[in-house]
């Protein structure tokens, strides 16, 4: 199972709760700024994500969520 982290950068207010709460240390603060002047998070090692959904549950501004990625070519 592979998981993918989605971030809407314009919604982020840079509180850092997702970085604090992530057990697999997938996220870190990025260098870039959004239009409100905050540093949104970025997935530095997305392979480590275990799809626990904690960042999605805790984000106060609905800026981050996780989906399970289905692999297209699977031979059963």
């Amino acid at each position: 199972m592979k998981a993918e982290v989605h971030i809407i950068k314009e919604r982020c207010k840079g509180c850092g709760i997702c970085i604090e709460i992530c057990q697999a240390s997938v996220l870190e603060i990025s260098e870039e700024l959004n239009t409100n002047g905050y540093h949104p998070p970025v997935a530095k090692n997305p392979e480590a994500c275990i799809n626990c959904g904690m960042c999605e549950m805790f984000c106060p501004d609905f800026a981050i969520w996780v989906t399970v990625v289905k692999e297209a070519n699977v031979n059963v």
Partner: protein, 257 residues
């Protein structure tokens, strides 16, 4: 080879997305409470048009502006009474009240006692932010002893779970925003409960309650309240005062059938 299934946030269908990001300070617990509430409604058997949300004034009063349920915004102190009247007219709907200290304790205390004694089916999610936030630094009935920097509070704080229990609540719980999993299951429990239920969420104001104004350290501050709390279910509600040097007691205290 890999394909992206969803293009928007799963909670977007319950939100007025034009007004996101919200007006609250970065990391404010009210946002987490809303996020948790949306997930609780998704996971419970309620359809979203059967849920009515009522909110009042102050920071917590903004909740009704973001949620795409049947949302009502009321004046100060009239909140619980209004929700009770709505419930009496629409018995098939679930009324959820997002209140803060001003609505719940200061000017709405009479309604709280009346509605609780009558046992009207309401879910009150009380966001306790320890201080008057918009009129900065003022002490309120739930401010701990000798705290709030403008006028040092010389009175002992109100014990909200005990008050709710004495008013006849059938479900009383208390959580912090960083215990969102517990909070979500409390909300799922109470959404299907027929009775007056109160969930207190201790989410201290990140701007004005600490002595220095540190807006960047939101995660660190929230984690401080998480580390200084302990879960004790079924604790007697007399012992649940918020004291500065003791740990805050969280848990589910009353659950009547």
């Amino acid at each position: 080879m890999l394909e992206n299934v969803e293009k928007s946030h799963p909670a977007d269908c319950f939100l007025y997305t034009d007004s996101v990001p919200s007006v609250w300070c970065p990391g404010c617990g009210i946002g987490t409470v809303i996020n948790t509430f949306i997930q609780a409604v998704e996971k419970s058997s309620f359809s979203s048009d059967k849920v009515c949300v009522v909110s009042g004034i102050g920071c917590t009063g903004k909740v009704a502006e973001y949620l795409k349920f049947n949302s009502f915004n009321r004046i100060d102190g009239n909140l619980i009474e209004y929700a009770a009247k709505l419930k009496l007219q629409n018995s098939d709907r679930k009324l959820v009240v997002f209140s803060n200290n001003a609505d719940f304790l200061v000017s709405g205390a009479k309604d709280l006692v009346e509605t609780g004694k009558k046992g009207i089916e309401l879910l009150i999610i009380h966001v306790n932010n320890i201080i008057y936030t918009i009129t900065e630094y003022k002490a309120i009935p739930t401010t701990p002893f000798m705290r709030a920097s403008a006028d040092k509070n010389l009175e002992l704080p109100f014990n909200i779970p005990h008050l709710a229990k004495e008013c006849g609540a059938t479900y009383v719980a208390r959580w912090t925003p960083l215990r969102a999993g517990w909070l979500m299951y409390s909300m799922i429990d109470t959404l299907s409960k027929r009775g007056f239920s109160v969930i207190e969420v201790i989410s201290p104001c990140l701007m004005y309650y600490p002595d220095s104004k540190r807006i960047g350290d939101a995660a660190e501050l929230m984690k401080f309240y998480d580390d200084n709390s302990v879960i004790k279910h079924d604790e007697p509600t007399e012992d649940l005062d918020i004291r500065v040097h003791d740990k805050i007691i969280l848990g589910k205290f009353v659950d009547k059938k």
